[in-house]
């Protein structure tokens, strides 16, 4: 049984020196004696530190070989179990496969161009690959590069995804039971095609189908002998779809898992995307304090040139988070940065979101005249692709500004025009709007009621499920 040690515990410095195996000094010797004396707490502290130090040394030793000037000499290999004349032919030259993959880059781009042009062009582009040695890589790269097409036209991206999956059926299968995998096997193309399908479906707003589409991708990646990266991509895309579906807990789990693997594989652009997705998710949940560091890390990781769209959105979402936290000056500066980027890169759909955010910021600061003007401009300038829900909220904000400025006639006119378009209004069936219109008729409409209705609809938009509590028509 270990005896009780009552002497003062050694400092962390002494224990760390002991763990790193430094020259024994007076303090280190005393620390060793203390641990050997049976202090279980310090023995555990020392064990933890030693484990950490040895882990750091192990990693350093591995890296030292990778960064060495000269390749270290390896011990002579003993005769393996396979006959020596079988081994050399087992591996195809990586150089040859690299050349194949390079030859596939242009055909992959041509497939994407053909997908934009139409079905006949796409079929012709796919047929032009027949009997070409780089066909597998071309199909694979086309699926991976099609994310731009998803943003431009999700229907065309969906068609492309399904065609790529069909085309891949004739490719060589992965040989996961062999020691070396097949280059660009059928399963890898099908997995990427399934991920493309998921992205296209999500872009179309079909979050449930998008999540379903990821499932076969997981299976295909598994069959192709995935080393963890494919599974992380599946987690990321399913997490994005689950977040869109407001299944926040599950989405957070998936996104965190994907982030860990992207970090392990050192892919900064994917780390940035996963961080931005996590920040947005937490912001939608109302957990603003936790979402800020995610945006900061996303902005550090994303590349300013190739990821400009994501950077703009990350700035916008970070600014919104500042606004919700009442840090208005920081919010304004961040919105300005986002707007500047969006205008410079002609990202018109992003400009709409940022302008909405800036108008809301003016509203939060009590600058109702400025906010009113901004919300009216947003409604006036909106294009057909603008979110209908955000437009309704902008009109409610405008009505609230009018009420707070004492312009009740214009306020009633604004709400009346909302009622006229109730059929097309995405919040049309909401009981909140029912109370708003009823109070308009009864002359009980004021800024507080509009704010009450607007906050309820904003919560509904963010996926917060709560029943509507009438403000004026209670009982």
């Amino acid at each position: 049984m270990p005896r009780l040690v009552t002497a003062e515990h050694p400092s962390e410095t002494d224990l760390l020196n002991l763990a790193t195996g430094r020259e024994p000094g007076e303090a280190t010797v005393a620390a060793r004696e203390h641990v050997d004396g049976g202090c279980r707490l310090c023995a555990r502290r020392l064990h933890d530190l030693s484990h950490l130090v040895s882990a750091v040394k192990e990693e350093h030793a591995f890296d030292a070989i990778l960064e060495s000037e000269v390749v270290p000499e390896l011990p002579r290999q003993a005769m393996g179990r396979t006959l020596p004349f079988v081994r050399p032919n087992a591996r195809v030259s990586v150089e040859d496969i690299y050349r194949l993959s390079q030859a596939a880059e242009k055909p992959a781009e041509l497939i994407l161009q053909a997908a934009r042009a139409g079905a006949d062009e796409l079929a012709a582009a796919l047929r032009s690959l027949d009997r070409k040695p780089y066909r597998g890589f071309a199909l694979l790269y086309a699926a991976q590069k099609a994310d731009k097409l998803v943003a431009e036209d999700p229907n065309k991206a969906l068609t492309l995804a399904r065609l790529l999956c069909e085309e891949a059926a004739t490719l060589q299968a992965a040989n996961s039971k062999e020691r070396i995998s097949t280059p660009a096997p059928r399963q890898a193309v099908q997995a990427e095609a399934a991920l493309l399908e998921s992205q296209a479906l999500l872009q179309k707003g079909e979050a449930k189908a998008a999540r379903e589409a990821v499932k076969p991708a997981r299976g295909f990646f598994g069959e192709s002998g995935d080393l963890g990266f494919g599974a992380a991509l599946c987690d990321y895309y399913e997490g994005a779809a689950a977040s869109f579906q407001r299944d926040y807990a599950f989405a957070e789990k998936l996104l965190k898992r994907s982030l860990a693997v992207f970090t392990e594989f050192g892919q900064d652009h994917l780390i940035g995307r996963a961080e931005a997705a996590l920040g947005t998710l937490l912001g939608n949940k109302g957990d603003f304090e936790r979402s800020l560091p995610h945006f900061d890390r996303a902005l550090n990781a994303l590349d300013a040139v190739s990821e400009s769209q994501r950077i703009t959105m990350a700035h916008n979402n970070r600014a919104t988070t500042f606004m919700r936290l009442g840090r208005f000056d920081e919010a304004r500066a961040t919105f300005a940065k986002a707007l500047n980027l969006a205008r410079r890169n002609s990202q018109s759909s992003h400009v709409f979101f940022i302008r909405t955010g800036l108008a809301e910021l003016d509203f939060c600061r009590g600058r109702y005249q400025r906010a009113l003007q901004a919300f009216r401009e947003i409604v006036r300038d909106s294009n057909p692709l603008a979110s209908e829900r955000l437009l309704v909220l902008a009109r409610l904000f405008a009505a609230e500004c009018l009420a707070r400025l004492g312009n009740f006639g214009s306020m009633c006119h604004e709400i009346e025009s909302l009622r006229k378009n109730r059929q097309e209004n995405p919040f049309g069936p909401s009981p909140a709007l029912g109370e708003l219109f009823m109070c308009l008729d009864q002359g009980m409409l004021d800024a507080d009621l509009i704010a009450h209705v607007r906050e309820y609809l904003q919560d509904e938009e963010n996926g917060v499920k709560r029943s509507y509590r009438p403000l004026r028509l209670a009982g």
Partner: protein
């Protein structure tokens, strides 16, 4: 005047493009070092490491449009593949020595442990400040004194010690998870 106009003309935005890989460096320099690291650090056979390197090079080529830092990808994928090789070897050994599955599972290969450690430390390093990383390496690996580490990093010895404490704490949490 023309000169002035030129100065104020809107700067042309570079096209978003993937960085081009230095294939020569990857294949001729990085590949043999990966193989050597697998043999020396994890005790795998050269054949196993060559197969693992071949597999991860095919994987990185298959993921080409998605991968921006091929070296980091290859390093992580190679570690995972080494882990797979060690696990397969363990399963084979378990069958050959007629151990029960339960008993075989309890015998953890130190090589597998080392592979996992390297992966975990890499991930943990990614989550701390690069300057902190340097401080940790100087103090724990290169055996520098606090004063030497402080001089090298440009911090005061007190700050260095504070940083070491913070980083070790965070790394411990990363390794534990």
């Amino acid at each position: 005047m023309t000169e002035q106009r030129k100065r104020f003309a809107p700067a042309e935005l570079p096209l978003p493009a993937r960085p081009v890989w230095n294939w020569e460096e990857l294949n001729a320099k990085f590949r043999p070092r990966l193989i050597a690291a697998g043999v020396i650090r994890f005790g795998l056979t050269q054949d196993d490491c060559e197969d693992a390197a071949q597999t991860v090079f095919l994987k990185v080529l298959a993921m080409n449009p998605r991968v921006r830092d091929p070296k980091a990808y290859l390093r992580a994928a190679f570690l995972n593949q080494c882990n797979n090789v060690i696990e397969a070897r363990e399963r084979r050994r378990g069958r050959e020595s007629a151990l029960t599955d339960h008993l075989a599972a309890t015998l953890i290969d130190p090589a597998a442990e080392r592979v996992k450690t390297v992966s975990a430390v890499t991930s943990a390093y990614k989550q701390i400040d690069p300057k902190c990383r340097q401080v940790i390496k100087s103090y724990c690996v290169e055996d520098m004194t606090l004063a030497e580490t402080a001089e090298k990093s440009g911090y005061s010895p007190k700050t260095v010690w504070k940083r070491i404490q913070e980083c070790l704490k965070r790394m411990r949490a990363c390794l534990a998870s």
